[in-house]
């Protein structure tokens, strides 16, 4: 039996046999969206579990181990608890925006997942401006945070939201520019193309020094993008209590929480795709088995996710002005110079290719 990995096309072909073409393509989109939603809701929950386990190991603890074997059902139980919880809110909150905010955050992070090539042709939406789409989508999430903080009529939440606005606008630049540096190498924004180019060597090797610098900048800016420690100014529990989601409870809080972890996954997935060859195996050892690409893709992504967790459980938090100093005085100038260096390297053909 031949399992084709191009899921959208497979489903569409199957549906066309039963109904008109227009209806079929819409239905196919809905089905794929539901599949993604289901997979990543669960994946998000397991990322939460992973975070808690990793944190526990860093902190000489055991971590969740009561629900299910080895605590594997812990976050499921948490999700159940959150679903069953009462949705509270402040009286003077702007009800419409207050309720809208979590959906902004969760939808924008789920939308970004559509473009990733998990393995050869296993991609819901192979858009030719993939990187551009990702950058655009990831900055929508901050609107949700701003709305949530502003509309909940709580000063702690408001400070958190304003910090988030400042932070995301600043670090958006660095994420964009560091990815742009790599696009100079590939010459394409399409993610499947970018992976294709890396069959001659992962981009971090192809671009050597400027690529490594770009990766470091990307990791710093990406961590800041997801509002995780050491850049968790938005939540900063020792300063703002819980920051922008102070007034959220139950499932609305869960959306924020889940979105944070899916965003972390997205940032790591972009890094995998752009710097570490996506679903390509090292030295092409499993080239004949395309479905193993999923394993390689997830493996690389999880390593980068782990790196971000390592940051979080080691470093103290920056202060808001230092956060901006880091971006505008260090990351941005270095990044601009780096682009020029990369351009020269590509122009002189100094890239390393196998």
């Amino acid at each position: 039996m031949i399992i084709t990995l191009s899921i959208t096309k497979t489903i569409q072909d199957w549906l066309i046999g039963m109904m008109p073409e227009g209806v079929a393509s819409i239905l196919a989109m809905v089905i794929v969206a539901l599949i993604y939603l289901a997979i990543f809701a669960v994946a998000g929950l397991y990322l939460v579990l992973l975070e808690r386990k990793v944190a526990a190991w860093f902190q000489l603890r055991i971590g969740p181990n009561r629900v299910g074997y080895w605590g594997l059902l812990q976050t499921m139980a948490d999700a159940l608890k959150l679903v069953s919880k009462e949705l509270t809110g402040t009286i003077k909150a702007d009800k419409f925006l207050y309720n809208l905010a979590p959906y902004f955050v969760i939808i924008s992070s789920l939308m970004a997942l559509a473009v990733f090539p998990f393995t050869k042709e296993f991609q819901a939406f192979d858009i030719n401006i993939g990187i551009f789409f990702l950058i655009a989508i990831s900055s929508i999430g901050v609107i949700g945070i701003l709305l949530g903080g502003w509309s909940s009529n709580n000063k702690f939440a408001l400070i958190g939201a304003m910090r988030s606005g400042v932070q995301t606008i600043s670090y958006e630049l660095s994420v964009g520019l560091s990815l742009l540096t790599m696009v100079l190498l590939t010459g394409s924004l399409q993610l499947s193309e970018i992976v294709e180019v890396q069959k001659e060597g992962w981009l971090i090797l192809q671009g050597h020094v400027p690529a490594i610098i770009a990766f470091m900048i990307y990791m710093i800016a990406g961590t800041a993008e997801t509002n995780r420690a050491p850049f968790d100014m938005v939540e900063a529990e020792s300063e703002l209590g819980a920051g922008f989601h102070t007034e959220y409870s139950g499932m609305k809080f869960a959306y924020f929480f889940l979105a944070e972890f899916i965003n972390m996954f997205i940032i790591a997935a972009i890094a995998t795709t752009v710097f570490f060859g996506g679903w390509l195996s090292p030295f092409g050892i499993t080239e004949s088995l395309p479905w193993l690409g999923i394993f390689w893709f997830l493996g690389k992504t999880l390593v980068i996710v782990f790196l971000m967790m390592w940051f979080r459980w080691t470093f103290p938090r920056l202060r808001i002005d230092q956060l901006l100093t880091l971006e505008w005085k260090y990351l941005l100038p270095i990044n601009l110079v780096n682009i020029v260096i990369m351009a020269i390297i590509v122009w002189l053909n100094l890239t390393i290719k196998f």
């Binding site: 944190a55 860093f58 902190q59 000489l60 603890r61 000063k155 702690f156 400070i159 420690a229 050491p230 968790d232 900063a236 529990e237 020792s238 300063e239 703002l240 209590g241 459980w313 080691t314 470093f315 103290p316 938090r317 920056l318 202060r319 808001i320 002005d321 230092q322």
Partner: protein, 373 residues
């Protein structure tokens, strides 16, 4: 364009924030009324009394033996030193000379208390600036000290091991071994504190030049303990008014002159090293002898006033007892270090950001029951 017009066009508005009584950074039920302009702090006004138990009033109806256990509940992280302060006051009033064994054991336990308190402070300090993992490393080492206390005194936090006239009972046979084990363990772990947090560039940026307290202000505000010493003010009671066995050990008073949050941090780290050295000097030669001097079942202090200072982990604790010759004190006043240290919070936090306030407050090392006696 005239710059003053530009300034007047841009109006910023101050607003209030209630930090506490339930807030992660206030470490208890302290409420701070913050006046903030954007992120800049304009005024900090503490609101106290959420856990005031009126210990001073309770002391007026209790006998001298019974006062001691109340002091456990003041600064619960240096409860042994608090107990010692009351006992020393009563013993001085009765002119009782303690056996050497009592003095040495009290000193060792005091220093262990200090290390335990600073371990907790270090963990919480890291947590306040955002490094959550430090909390567990600090607690790991503190647990070992708590075990020592539990084995000898029977309690981990509120031990009530001192009584006027000595110690309640002798130390546990395992005490010396356990303490030595701990010292050996802690000597390997304390450098880790430095590599993990002290050297960290983010941590240094967060703390250096933040919350500066000059020496003059430190004295005027009655700052004591590490807070005063970080401003270059030599205020170690163990040096200036030695009690128990502090006159027979050599140690350096940790003094920094910068007066900022980082200096306060370094002073506490340095103090842990000094405490290790004090314990090492004493642990091998605890003199033999009694651990109690016989006192009357009902202690009556001669008419008069008695004052005793000790150095707790937070600073100078003063016990002021006015006696009229009866079995209860007429008036007991505890001069708690946290209370004076809190009064300077407004001074050092104004002009900083919210994050700076949290960092400075962490290095003041406030224990709220100590303030709300």
């Amino acid at each position: 364009m005239d710059t003053t017009i530009v300034k007047s066009n841009f109006k910023s508005e101050e607003y209030f924030i209630n930090m506490g009584p339930q807030h992660p950074a206030t470490h208890g039920v302290l409420r701070l009324l913050l006046t903030i302009d954007g992120e800049i702090i304009k005024k900090v006004e503490p609101d106290l009394g959420y856990i005031h138990r009126s210990i001073e009033k309770m002391c007026e109806r209790d006998s001298y033996q019974q006062i001691v256990h109340l002091t456990d509940r003041m600064d619960y992280l240096s409860s042994h030193i608090n107990n010692e302060a009351v006992c020393l006051t009563v013993e001085n009033a009765l002119q009782l000379e303690m056996p050497d064994r009592v003095k040495v054991i009290r000193t060792i336990l005091s220093e262990l208390t200090r290390i335990a308190s600073h371990c907790l402070w270090w963990g919480v300090m890291g947590m306040d600036v955002g490094a959550l993992t430090t909390y567990f490393y600090g607690f790991r080492d503190r647990e070992m000290i708590n075990d020592i206390f539990e084995e000898t005194c029977g309690a981990r936090l509120t031990m009530n091991y001192n009584i006027p006239g000595g110690l309640m009972f002798d130390v546990h046979p395992n005490f010396v071994k356990r303490t030595k084990d701990f010292i050996a363990h802690f000597k390997t772990k304390l450098p880790e504190y430095d590599t993990l947090l002290t050297g960290n560039v983010i941590f240094q940026k967060r703390t250096k030049g933040v919350g500066i307290l000059t020496k003059e202000d430190a004295i005027s505000f009655g700052a004591s303990g590490p807070v005063g010493r970080a401003s270059g003010y030599s205020c170690d009671v163990r040096k200036h008014h030695p009690y128990s066995a502090y006159d027979r050990v050599t140690f350096n008073e940790a003094i920094k002159t910068e007066g900022d949050t980082f200096a306060r941090y370094q002073v506490r780290i340095q103090e842990m090293w000094e405490s290790i050295s004090i314990i090492e000097q004493l642990i091998d030669n605890i003199p033999d002898g009694d651990v109690q001097v016989a006192t009357n079942a009902v202690i009556k202090l001669p008419k008069g006033e008695y004052y005793q200072k000790v150095e707790t982990a937070r600073g100078e604790l003063g016990v002021y007892i006015i006696s009229t010759g009866t079995k209860n004190p007429y008036r007991v006043k505890f001069r708690s270090p946290g209370f004076s240290n809190l009064s300077l919070l407004n001074h050092i936090a104004v002009g900083g950001k919210i994050g700076d306030l949290v960092a400075s407050m962490a290095t003041l090392d406030l224990v709220i029951p100590d303030i709300d006696r």
